[in-house]
């Protein structure tokens, strides 16, 4: 069982959370000249690291806030969590 520290509610069990994927993926800015290749890379291509992974989680069965977490994909250790505005 993962224990995830919601930045708003504190430590809760994994059951209360939903995963939101890689948080380093950046949508190209509105109005920018974007090549189709850049769009494809944004939509489909991922770094998929073994080790430290920055990702979104949603406290869906709690305060319903989205936040970021830094977690190890090899050990499942969660290093820290932060609200979307904060630096991890």
């Amino acid at each position: 069982m993962l224990e995830i520290k919601c930045p708003y509610c504190g430590k809760r069990s994994q059951n209360e959370f939903a995963y939101g994927g890689d948080a380093t993926v950046k949508r190209p800015n509105l109005g920018d000249e974007v090549s189709t290749k850049e769009w494809d890379n944004f939509v489909y291509f991922r770094d998929n690291p073994r080790g430290k992974h920055t990702e979104y989680w949603h406290h869906v069965a709690g305060c319903r806030q989205w936040f970021k977490a830094s977690r190890d994909t090899a050990t499942h250790e969660i290093f820290n969590t932060a609200s979307l505005e904060e630096e991890l």
Partner: protein, 418 residues
């Protein structure tokens, strides 16, 4: 190579089974090979076998970091099927189904293929309509499919919850009668033994640490057991694909996720088919030993850990109990996890790459086992001829740029949701 038969069994009984030939050797890596396959799982072993058998390329090495068959080919739930709607998938997986039918004879190794039928339960009229559509697509592609009504399903699995009060009433099912199971370890061992007998070197405990690429062309691989020269390299490393692709400066449309499975204690024969629960993500078959082999959803977060967490086991089994209430007192024997190479459209990638002589076989999501023979067959063709077989042409890497993605499930590029 020693042939396995009733006669060799009797003959070896006289020497207390002490004199059997080893099934495959344990060679030292040579300085150079024509082809190196990275990954001694089902797909890697099958690829080496078909390279030798179909294309006469026998100067081949399989480099395996651990031991052969220790990854996903030994961790799956052994289900075989070709019940796909899209043409590209249907044709490819149907080749696999045809190959399973005589694989035991082909390999002279009993892979225990059992065409017990796979039943996808439907719980609403809409779902049954969708299954009818899929079944019709399958039949148009020459694949067997039967639409079952509630009474017909009840005859096959009378112990499922057919009460009037249950949350997800069973209204019917789609069945592929030729679908079934096979013994996964035997598949790996059978391919290994035959590949070895044709001259393929199976090199275990040999981790690939880097690649030598000169002018856009592969010239060798660096391993924990020294450098090995080669002109062609095939990657069959499933969940570890990104780790090797990183060393080749390739960024792929793949995420690694952990999928768990579990088995119960063995019980007497009860469940004679493979059954999938259409209202949640739960599927089950009974092994020849009597264990209920069960699986379901991904744990739902990126992972390379080969182990998951209990909440997902609980979630999957609660879905299982909704359809099979009589499983509630089964004791669980063990659970385990494997790393899935989840592609962003749910379909595998079997293709050449931007580096001359490097070939990619990945993105199997949670469906790689059933494709073992067909994947090995078309990947061997792709490597030997330096061009894709017509069946894996749609599974190209470029589809993520051309827009020709094959999204059978239609979940979008969020593999943890599917």
């Amino acid at each position: 190579m020693q042939n396995y038969s009733i006669f060799s069994l009797v003959k070896n009984a006289f020497s207390n089974h002490q004199d059997w030939e080893v099934a495959w050797k344990d060679p030292e890596p040579k300085k150079e090979y024509d082809v190196i396959i990275i990954g001694g799982g089902g797909h890697g072993l099958a690829t080496a076998y078909y390279l030798a058998k179909e294309h006469g390329i026998t100067n081949v090495a399989i480099l395996e970091k651990g031991w052969i068959g220790g990854g996903n080919v030994g961790r799956n739930t052994t289900i075989l099927r070709s019940n796909y709607m899209f043409d590209a998938n249907a044709h490819f997986y149907e080749l696999g189904m045809k190959m399973w039918e005589d694989l035991s004879q082909e390999l002279n190794y009993n892979v225990m293929y059992s065409s017990r039928g796979i039943i996808n339960l439907a719980h609403t009229d809409g779902q049954l309509n969708a299954y009818a559509r899929r079944g019709n697509s399958m039949r148009l592609n020459g694949i067997d499919a039967i639409l079952l009504n509630r009474e017909e399903v009840k005859k096959m699995i009378p112990f499922a919850d057919f009460s009037d009060t249950c949350r997800f009433p069973i209204v019917g099912a789609l069945m592929q009668p030729r679908g079934g199971t096979a013994r996964h370890d035997a598949v790996a061992w059978g391919y290994a033994r035959q590949a070895d007998s044709m001259g393929v070197d199976i090199i275990q405990n040999c981790e690939v640490t880097g690649f030598d690429v000169e002018n856009g062309k592969i010239s060798g691989v660096r391993t924990s057991r020294g450098e090995i020269k080669t002109k062609k390299v095939g990657l069959c490393v499933a969940g570890s694909t990104t780790l090797l692709a990183d060393k080749l400066n390739m960024r792929l449309p793949i995420e690694a996720h952990v999928l768990q499975a579990c088995v119960s204690e063995p019980v007497k024969p009860l469940l004679h088919n493979v059954v999938t629960f259409g209202a949640g993500h739960f599927y089950c078959s009974q092994s020849d030993k009597g264990e209920m082999v069960m699986g379901g959803d991904l744990d739902g977060y990126n992972s390379y850990a080969q182990r998951g967490n209990l909440p997902m086991i609980q979630h999957v089994l609660s879905g299982g109990l909704a359809v099979f209430p009589n499983f509630s007192r089964l004791k669980m024997l063990r659970s385990w996890g494997g790393i899935m190479d989840m592609s962003m459209d749910g379909t595998p990638i079997i293709d050449k790459t931007h580096i001359d002589g490097v070939y990619l076989n990945c993105g199997w999501c949670y469906g790689g086992f059933k494709a073992t023979p067909s994947s090995g067959f078309v990947f061997a063709h792709t490597i030997a001829k330096d061009e894709p077989h017509e069946l894996n042409q749609p599974f190209n890497l470029d589809r993520f740029h051309t827009g020709n993605i094959i999204d059978e499930k239609g979940v979008g590029p969020k593999p943890w949701i599917g």
